[in-house]
Symmetry: C2
Subunit: 280 residues, 2 copies
């Protein structure tokens, strides 16, 4: 297995002139690979394409990403496939070069190991002090400007705390440092709106669709810490963890049993059923 | 002349696992080099050290940066020295690795050429629609998360427009995409506060000090577009351009003659007088 492909070549190095490094001028996707095939593949590709469109970066064709993904993964059953797309090298200062030759980097790493109990019995979660700045131009996009998450994630080191909740500068709840957040209250499943900041997770999208298909009322709304305190239950989602129920929020114990655990298991199972590389 | 040094080695490549690329987890400085020596060297080093402290990245000793700077510049009289410092490779997800081995990249490029008339007769400036998100944790720091500037800079392509003014999400004026902004009004020199966003420019700092030393009243304040319209004059600063008077703001012509051009020339000259590498 090659460790990485940069524009199709087996290497793990990029130019120091790449705008991904200089300005965080790019995007990334982190794809769970099971049985040698990608999970939520269509969702990842669609988000990458949407992000590329919003940043004005030419997106590589799906066939190319599929071909390189297959080549990189070959023989590996379970791993994480990271796709990183930048505007490429060059340009004078911030101004994007008119003839951008994007850099695409596919790399493969071991799947992170989290205690199984986190999925089954839930996780402890803290509140982060680092706020998320608002910017509608970038909201929802999984771009490479992630210093806010880095600072937030460095706020705690207790290994028993699985995630930190981030709020925007207006103190609205946005999500976890690396996950999206859902609240169950009065039978309705709510997740924070992402108009001003946050990342539109692939698993978030899948859960919204699956919940609606299961007849649950769903909505995207502005959420406050008071809403979290009043909720019947909370859970976190991302493409690698699937779903983590929240059993402790700050110093408050939550009753995981009030969440629709069976449904959530089914959503997870569906999300982790590998797609065909050609599904999208 | 070597084109670049990465951790002291002559190369122009970095690992794709570097957090500078993955998350924009780092800082940079862009130093004007004249007569083979750096300008505003002390200011650049101090800002780099302050930024490193705020991000929790170990900063290389000044002697090392001096030694590598001298080695890289050797024989070159005029160029731009870029120093890029990242938290280095690795770590699991956003969480900074506890044993960070920072990456320092020194690279050399040609000084940008701007029309001499821009310095003498002033520049035309536009307003950008892309807002700056607010985040006190990152405000002032010259970090690698610069997508907002990239998007703002791609809003115009008219080569006669030298710079774009950016406002924060509350519509307060912050500065140019690559420069700081000063307003002269009723004899007082004002520059936008940088509590919530923006970069604390080395030339901004120098102008504030020089103006105060010349007996001018100076202040850092929140600034609105109305303040710009009411000002007697405006100018832009950065370490490479020095000072550009503004002769047109959007569709409004400004009288550059109301600015203290002689003083500004002196400030520029002082800023572009090369320091000794050992000054700091």
């Amino acid at each position: 297995m090659a460790a990485a492909l940069v524009n199709g070549r087996s290497t793990d190095r990029v130019s120091i002139a790449d705008r991904g490094l200089a300005y965080g001028d790019g995007l990334f996707e982190t794809v769970a690979v099971r049985a040698g095939r990608p999970c939520l593949w269509r969702e990842h590709l669609e988000r990458l394409e949407l992000g590329a469109k919003r940043l004005g970066i030419p997106c590589p064709p799906r066939e190319l990403l599929r071909e390189e993904g297959e080549r990189l993964i070959a023989g590996t059953l379970q791993c994480v496939l990271k796709i990183l797309l930048t505007r490429g090298p060059g340009g004078r200062g911030y101004r994007p070069q008119s003839d951008a030759r994007p850099t695409r980097i596919l790399s493969c790493s071991e799947a992170p190991e989290h205690p199984l109990a986190w999925r089954r019995r839930g996780v402890a979660v803290t509140f982060c002090a680092t706020p998320l700045g608002e910017n509608p131009s970038l909201a929802g996009v999984k771009h490479l400007n992630r210093l806010e998450q880095v600072l937030a994630r460095s706020e705690w080191s207790d290994p028993d705390i699985a995630e930190g909740i981030m709020c925007d500068v207006r103190r609205r709840v946005v999500g976890g440092t690396m996950s999206n957040l859902f609240l169950l209250a009065r039978g309705c499943l709510t997740t924070p709106r992402l108009d001003y900041c946050g990342i539109a997770g692939t698993m978030r999208r899948r859960v919204l669709e699956s919940a609606a298909a299961a007849g649950l009322e769903t909505r995207e709304a502005f959420v406050t810490r008071r809403d979290l305190a009043a909720a019947d239950g909370l859970f976190l989602t991302n493409a690698l963890i699937g779903i983590w129920p929240v059993r402790r929020l700050g110093s408050t114990e939550l009753d995981v049993g009030r969440l629709p655990m069976e449904l959530m298991d089914r959503w997870c199972e569906a999300a982790f059923t590998p797609d065909d590389w050609r599904v999208a």
